[in-house]
């Protein structure tokens, strides 16, 4: 009886141990990928900064007054929300935070009497939002952990075309910004119409000596801008994807570390329970032997030993 419990506990401990091996491996994988993902975020910075700078220089030159990608529409009927999260779970609250932000954003736009369409990036967000009957216009899956620029181009293309065709009047992107390995925050940013970020301080410095350089353009500023702005949107989406990927790895690493720690705790407490159970069964056994011997010694002549032992034993087993 008591031995049975010990066996069950032993089985549970070994199951927790093998789970721990998995979570530990996932933790280590995630940790190594954070570094790589972070490096990719950093590697994408020069392009993003330069393209921002160029957009500024162009708009300083007066280009783009009529470009639809730069000018907010007077009336906003339909909003596209690009929601970027993970393909896989097992990363703590990472997906849930993004989903919550997306839901809040949908509520806000609905309250303002606007329609919305979601462009989901990541399998988890897609199934979550689809299950709750949100309008999903498009879904991209399969690259949340290692997005390439091609992926960013596909996502950007999916909103750029409809925006220019006036199916969308505003495009927002929701993703998790990677601040540091310890901090990530969910942000909602307008994507189109474009509100160029102010140029980075370093870029400002290099422009410092001549205040407003009079540029030579080839072809015309408007023509360049027309070709440049879609690239700019792609670069923004790409930055979002890279940040999300880095955040996903960080979230997964943290979640898996917690799981590994919990498995350790569980193994310790289960081992204690198991040891106590084993000790209990040993104590019970000793008690039985001692009391049996005691009974034998008290009346050794009244009954023949072998006739006494057999029924007593069989009773004990039953």
């Amino acid at each position: 009886m008591a031995g049975g419990q010990e066996r069950i506990l032993r089985r549970r401990i070994s199951s927790v141990q093998s789970t721990k091996k998995i979570t530990r491996a996932m933790e280590l994988i995630a940790a190594s990928r954070i570094v790589r993902a972070q490096a990719r975020v950093r590697a994408a910075m020069p392009y993003a900064e330069t393209i921002t700078e160029v957009v500024h220089d162009l708009s300083d030159a007066g280009a783009g007054a009529n470009n639809p990608l730069l000018n907010p529409r007077p009336e906003i009927r339909k909003v596209a929300l690009v929601v970027i999260a993970a393909d896989r779970g097992l990363c703590g609250g990472y997906n849930a935070f993004v989903q919550r932000a997306a839901e809040a954003s949908v509520r806000e736009h609905t309250r303002l009497g606007r329609q919305y369409g979601i462009v989901a990036v990541g399998r988890k967000v897609e199934s979550y939002l689809r299950f709750r009957d949100y309008t999903i216009d498009a879904a991209f899956t399969g690259f949340s952990e290692q997005p390439s620029y091609e992926d960013a181009r596909a996502v950007a293309g999916r909103v750029l075309g409809p925006f220019l065709a006036e199916q969308y009047d505003l495009v927002e992107v929701i993703y998790t910004r990677f601040v540091s390995a310890g901090t990530q925050e969910v942000v909602v940013r307008p994507l189109i119409p474009i509100e160029p970020d102010p140029p980075a301080p370093s870029a400002e410095g290099s422009h410092g000596d001549d205040v407003s350089p009079a540029y030579d353009f080839e072809p015309s500023p408007d023509a360049i801008l027309e070709r440049l702005l879609p690239r700019y949107v792609e670069a923004r989406v790409f930055a979002g994807l890279l940040n999300a990927a880095a955040s996903e790895h960080a979230a997964r690493q943290r979640a898996m570390k917690a799981a590994t720690d919990n498995a350790d705790d569980l193994i310790v407490s289960l081992t204690r329970v198991m040891n106590r159970a084993r000790q209990d069964s040993i104590t019970t056994e000793i008690m039985e032997i001692v009391s049996g011997a005691e009974a034998l010694r008290q009346n050794p002549v009244e009954q023949e030993p072998d006739r006494f032992l057999v029924p007593a034993d069989s009773q004990e087993l039953a």
Binding site: Y47, T50, S148, S206, H207, Y215, E218, R231
Partner: protein
């Protein structure tokens, strides 16, 4: 820098900085034609076609980069090339580019107005040209 002016050159793609260095002259092709930048060039912003960008180094050597469309910005002796796809000669897969050229030519034989194939052919030829230049300069 004042005695011997040079250009700071950077070629960046969305994924990384592809090339960084100093140069005496940079030659590239915009949609209106070839243009060369020397130190002290006035600020310039242009859209690039599918063409090579030549970076002439101070020691009379040169680097050639295959740039498949993009933009160039020049200001304060800084040349910035922004490109979705740009390759240095060692990165070019010559057999693949040759295969791509064959395919594009075959497609063009079928219909002369296949824009995609025309572009693919331009890319393949650029790759081969740049890779070829690299071989001869490596040999010298």
């Amino acid at each position: 820098m004042a005695d011997n002016p040079t250009l700071q050159v950077q070629v960046v793609s969305p994924e990384e900085i592809l090339y960084e260095g100093t140069a005496e002259m940079v030659v590239c092709r915009t949609s209106d034609g070839d243009i060369a930048f020397l130190p002290g060039h006035m600020p310039f912003l242009g859209a690039l076609g599918i063409a090579k960008v030549r970076v002439l180094l101070p020691d009379e050597d040169e680097h050639v980069i295959a740039v498949h469309g993009g933009f160039v910005e020049v200001s304060n002796d800084r040349v910035l090339v922004l490109s979705d796809v740009a390759e240095l000669p060692p990165e070019i897969d010559i057999p693949r580019a040759e295969a791509a050229r064959q395919r594009a030519r075959a497609a063009l034989d079928l219909s002369e107005h296949d824009e995609e194939a025309t572009e693919a052919l331009a890319r393949a030829e650029l790759r081969l040209e740049v890779a070829g230049v690299a071989e001869s300069s490596a040999a010298s």
